[in-house]
């Protein structure tokens, strides 16, 4: 496989055409939610030059097999893919729907979750992680979450805010609360 290299500081010019911070549209089946948060480096400083890519199932737990097109990307069906850069304060916000649990073969199931790639200057390879939702019963049985040491699992849980259907999920690149990242 070809080697990975960093996106560098100027990726916006090549990648912004696919920026999508809102995957919802009128008539979309599911519960609309907002997830927002901040990306912090090893000094606790916000990372203003990161881009996140999200991939998730629809409300029924199915991943899209349809093409993302220029027209109607947001308006005709649920794409499941979003690309969101951080702002000057290292913050991002994604408007989407609560994903359904994902049935796997042999009767097992994954809890509702969103896959996340993190790209930035200083990352020679993307970081890969997942967002789960705090308080979801299915988390207890999730096959991926259960591979994570119990004392680090909280880093993968988006917490619900008082505001309805709004969740916070931060990415900490280093430190005692360093976000869990996966290799594959």
């Amino acid at each position: 496989m070809s080697a990975s290299q960093t996106v560098g500081p100027f990726f916006t010019i090549g990648l912004e055409h696919l920026n999508r911070a809102n995957l919802t549209f009128r008539g979309l089946h599911g519960t609309a939610i907002t997830i927002h948060g901040q990306i912090l480096d090893g000094d606790g400083k916000p990372v203003p030059d990161a881009v996140l890519e999200f991939w998730q199932a629809d409300a029924d737990g199915n991943f899209s097999e349809q093409r993302c097109e220029a027209q109607g990307y947001e308006l005709s069906r649920f794409a499941g893919f979003a690309r969101v850069p951080t702002d000057d304060a290292g913050k991002y916000e994604l408007r989407t729907i609560m994903p359904g649990g994902v049935a796997e073969a042999h009767g097992s199931a994954q809890a509702p979750h969103i896959a996340v790639f993190v790209f930035m200057r200083g990352l020679l390879k993307p970081l890969y992680t997942r967002i789960y939702f705090a308080g979801t019963k299915a988390n207890d049985m999730d096959p991926v979450l259960n591979l994570v040491p119990a004392d680090r699992r909280a880093t993968l849980l988006a917490s619900k805010e008082s505001r309805a259907e709004s969740f916070v999920w931060d990415v900490k690149l280093q430190g005692p609360d360093e976000t869990v990242f996966f290799e594959w």
Binding site: Q5, T6, G8, P9, I13, E65, Y128
Partner: protein
């Protein structure tokens, strides 16, 4: 997990580590705790697929996106996108971005004192064909200084972003040019420990793709992490 086959391991040294201290930005951004090995699930064996409407002919010719022609050495850049078993990756979205011939990006954070070119945006995209082939026309980007270390200069390069089959085939990389004297000094290029793997990011001069009286050709093939396909039942 239901599909016990692991992902194919990377060859030793063929990928950079997250922490590469001579590339100073990695020091505060590389993870410090062990990564968790991911089993196969639908989440990663699926992935977004992109329609042809996201890519127009103009997107693959970076020399015709403005009224006039950009300054610099026109080049034709082509290659194939393959999976780890050598099969073409069809309809893969390839996104590129680069500096202009003077070594300046059209980006607000680029403070290099070289001029912008009003006729060059430096971004493009294309979708691979049935043989996994792609082709761009652009200009050769200039080298440019960066603040990583004393008298640091990035070698000439073009950024590539690709989506293949399945989420984990995602690749972002950089393509370099043969014979560039800056390569041996570049901490980003040299973050790849294996020399062969490193040199696979260096494009090759391509006589066949070179057009007389028009432009030099360069070839750059890309191999994406292959989702090994489900064995065919006999």
């Amino acid at each position: 997990m239901n599909d016990p086959r692991p992902y194919r391991k990377f060859g030793v040294g063929t990928q950079p580590e997250y922490l590469h201290p001579s590339y100073v930005s990695t020091i505060k951004r590389a993870p410090t705790k062990p990564l968790i090995l991911l089993p196969r699930t639908k989440t990663e064996t699926t992935g977004p697929i992109f329609g042809h409407s996201l890519v127009t002919a103009r997107d693959s010719d970076l020399t015709t996106q403005h009224e006039g022609e950009p300054l610099g050495e026109r080049i034709i850049l082509s290659g194939r996108v393959l999976d780890e078993e050598g099969r073409p990756v069809r309809e893969a979205l390839v996104e590129v971005w680069q500096a202009n011939a003077a070594g300046r990006y059209r980006h607000k954070a680029d403070q290099h004192g070289a001029p912008l070119d009003p006729n060059f945006s430096g971004c493009g995209r294309v979708m691979t064909d049935a043989d996994g082939r792609y082709r761009f026309v652009t200009i050769k980007p200039g080298a440019y200084p960066w603040g990583n270390h004393h008298n640091g200069w990035r070698p000439q390069h073009i950024h590539f972003s690709l989506f293949g089959a399945g989420l984990l085939s995602r690749l972002v990389t950089q393509m370099y040019f043969p014979g560039d004297p800056l390569l041996e000094f570049d901490p980003i290029f040299n973050s790849i420990p294996d020399e062969k793997a490193r040199n696979r990011l260096v494009s090759q001069f391509d006589w066949e793709a070179t057009q007389p009286n028009h432009a030099l050709g360069y070839r750059f093939d890309i191999v994406l992490r292959g989702r090994e396909q489900t064995p065919v039942e006999k």
